[in-house]
């Protein structure tokens, strides 16, 4: 393992060992501590915000690339943290860095690299009993990704990352109203989209011998 890196614990409790900030400390206190060089505080912020960053990235880039990009986002954020004047907007600021990182990813990728995860994940040969579920899961993920930005991010944070509406609002800096609307409309559109797709695949399947 490289000696050029410090591994930050993922759990806030462990991260707090070397920090003056309590594990339950407010985000503002954590950001301020991280700004003054407290790396454990930054580790706690990672523990709190990595799911949000993951969800935002997953809404825009292939699944296989997301975990690496999550690390990139936090590595980009760390040296810029001191330029964040309004620490209460840390979540929105971090979300913007994540969105930009996703844009950079697409700029740097060859078209063939993009969204070919089903091919790669197909190589793993899932158990036959899981193939149908795998295929359906990919179909749902793709359907979510085809929705407008605000709906797809919110839906992925809710359905993939398991965050609640109030949690999404707290992390992203959106209002409860915005999150509620995004969830409601996003689910409506997702259902319509999947219904349409299911209908299309059913009609195709009906012409195929079993």
């Amino acid at each position: 393992m490289s000696t050029d890196f410090d591994l930050q614990p993922t759990f806030a409790g462990l991260a707090a060992v070397n920090s003056a900030i309590e594990p339950g400390g407010s985000d503002i206190a954590l950001v301020q501590a991280a700004q003054s060089g407290d790396r454990s505080a930054f580790g706690m912020l990672y523990a709190r915000y990595s799911r949000m960053v993951h969800g935002i990235l997953l809404s825009k880039v292939p699944h296989a690339a997301v975990e690496d990009l999550v690390q990139d986002v936090f590595l980009q954020a760390l040296p810029r943290l001191n330029s964040l004047r309004d620490v209460s907007r840390f979540g929105g600021w971090l979300a913007a860095i994540a969105r930009n990182r996703a844009i950079d990813f697409h700029r740097q990728s060859r078209p063939a690299d993009e969204f070919d995860e089903q091919i790669h994940e197909g190589d793993k040969q899932p158990h036959p009993a899981n193939r149908v579920d795998q295929s359906e899961a990919h179909q749902i993920l793709e359907a979510i990704r085809s929705l407008p930005d605000s709906y797809r991010e919110t839906l992925i944070l809710r359905l993939v990352e398991g965050m609640t509406g109030p949690e999404i609002a707290a992390r992203t800096g959106l209002t409860h109203g915005s999150v509620r609307v995004n969830l409601h409309r996003g689910m409506q559109q997702l259902r319509e989209l999947l219904g349409y797709k299911t209908g299309a695949s059913d009609s195709q399947a009906s012409g195929t011998p079993s």
Binding site: D6, L7, Q8, A96, R158, V160, T175, G177, V181
Partner: protein, 372 residues
């Protein structure tokens, strides 16, 4: 749909939402430790110069302190003059990309890493210079050659520049509606996006959106430009009708004539005919805008063609659209899936001088109105 379960997992579980959760869980974040670059062990303090001072004998140390103090005072006096005449605010960071851009009368030279553009100041580039403006809470704006940009406002929720002439590429991560660019022929409002804005010497302009969407308006005439689309503007007229850049040449030419040319009624009818006959479903963007830029029989023709390409959602009627009923225009726009128009309506409301409630409260009210 079980709303409480979707919102916070409370109430009776919604079987469909539960199935989505169960299938999609495999894509969720794994708890991988964050690997940060190792910190240098050398203490940052007391610092190199402080260390040097401590190594000096007492009297020379006193003299050295006196020299440092004098230098600081002198530096303060020197730096007072430029700041006294420079405008207020902390300013945004400007980096030279090529050549020697200038802020006011001061050139940014190759040796300088970054400098500040303060409210009221102008950043200018000549034919060989380029610069970038960046602000942590805002994003990045690249200023191309032969451009002039003035910084107007840097408030927490209202950031504004003026592009007099030239080209900027903006990549904005501030919340939608917070960043505004004034041009001689329209006002561009960022609605979460990346875009290129050009202003010619005669004040006319063009906006091209590459990500998200932008609102463009002047004197009540408004255009929404999503990614892949562009929109021209003309002084005293305002924004033209937006269109996707892959629309046919004749479609674009006819649209330009309809927007800005002084046409006879026959000429206008011919232009409209060309637009409608060549419109694809994707050009619903253009037709939606044309509904409010046409009248009478022209509007009816636009409606009929638009309804074929993009069927109106439930509750949207021909009569309502011909009356330009906002409650019907809005869902039809949203059916295009190009961005939720509430962002724009919110911006309009909150930027109005009559908008008394704080932004957040107003936004909540608008959202609650919209919630089905």
């Amino acid at each position: 749909m079980n709303e409480p379960y979707l919102w916070d997992g409370s109430g009776e579980p919604d079987p469909e939402v539960q199935r989505f959760e169960s299938l999609l869980k495999q894509f969720s974040h794994r708890e991988i430790p964050l690997a940060l670059p190792r910190q240098q062990n050398a203490p940052a303090k007391p610092g190199y110069f402080h260390g040097l001072l401590l190594q000096l004998p007492w009297i020379p140390r006193f003299a050295a302190v006196a020299v440092v103090l004098l230098a600081l005072i002198a530096g303060g006096i020197v730096s007072f003059y430029p700041t006294r005449i420079s405008p207020s605010g902390s300013g945004w960071e400007v980096a030279r990309l090529d050549g020697t851009p200038q802020i006011g009368t001061r050139f940014i030279t190759a040796g300088e890493s970054t400098t500040k553009l303060r409210v009221g100041q102008t950043l200018e580039t000549n034919s060989t210079s380029r610069a970038s403006i960046s602000e942590t809470d805002l994003g990045e704006i690249k200023v191309e050659p032969n451009s002039r940009v003035r910084l107007l406002q840097t408030d927490e929720h209202h950031k504004r520049i003026q592009l007099d002439i030239g080209t900027i590429h903006a990549m904005i991560w501030a919340p939608a509606g917070e960043f505004v660019v004034d041009t001689p022929s329209a006002v561009a409002v960022d609605l979460g996006c990346a875009y290129t804005l050009q202003v010619a010497a005669d004040g006319s302009g063009t906006i091209r959106t590459t990500l998200g969407w932008v609102g463009f308006h002047l004197n009540g005439r408004e255009s929404f430009i999503p990614a892949g689309a562009m929109c021209p503007t003309r002084p005293k007229v305002g924004p033209g009708t937006p269109y996707f850049e892959d629309a046919s040449e004749s479609f674009r030419a006819a649209l330009g004539d309809l927007d800005f040319a002084a046409q006879s009624s026959e000429g206008r009818a011919a232009s409209l005919e060309t637009i409608l006959s060549q419109a694809r479903a994707r050009d619903g963007l253009t037709l939606w805008h044309l509904l409010s830029r046409t009248e009478g029989a022209e509007r009816a023709k636009v409606y009929d063609r638009f309804a074929v390409l993009v069927p109106p959602p439930a509750g949207v009627t021909r009569d309502g659209i011909l009356r330009l009923d906002q409650s019907m225009l809005t869902p039809w726009w949203n059916a295009l899936n190009l961005g939720d128009i509430y962002l724009w309506r919110y911006w309009e409301q909150s930027s109005s001088p009559r908008a008394n409630p704080p932004n957040r409260v107003l936004k909540e009210q608008l959202l609650l109105k919209k919630t089905p």
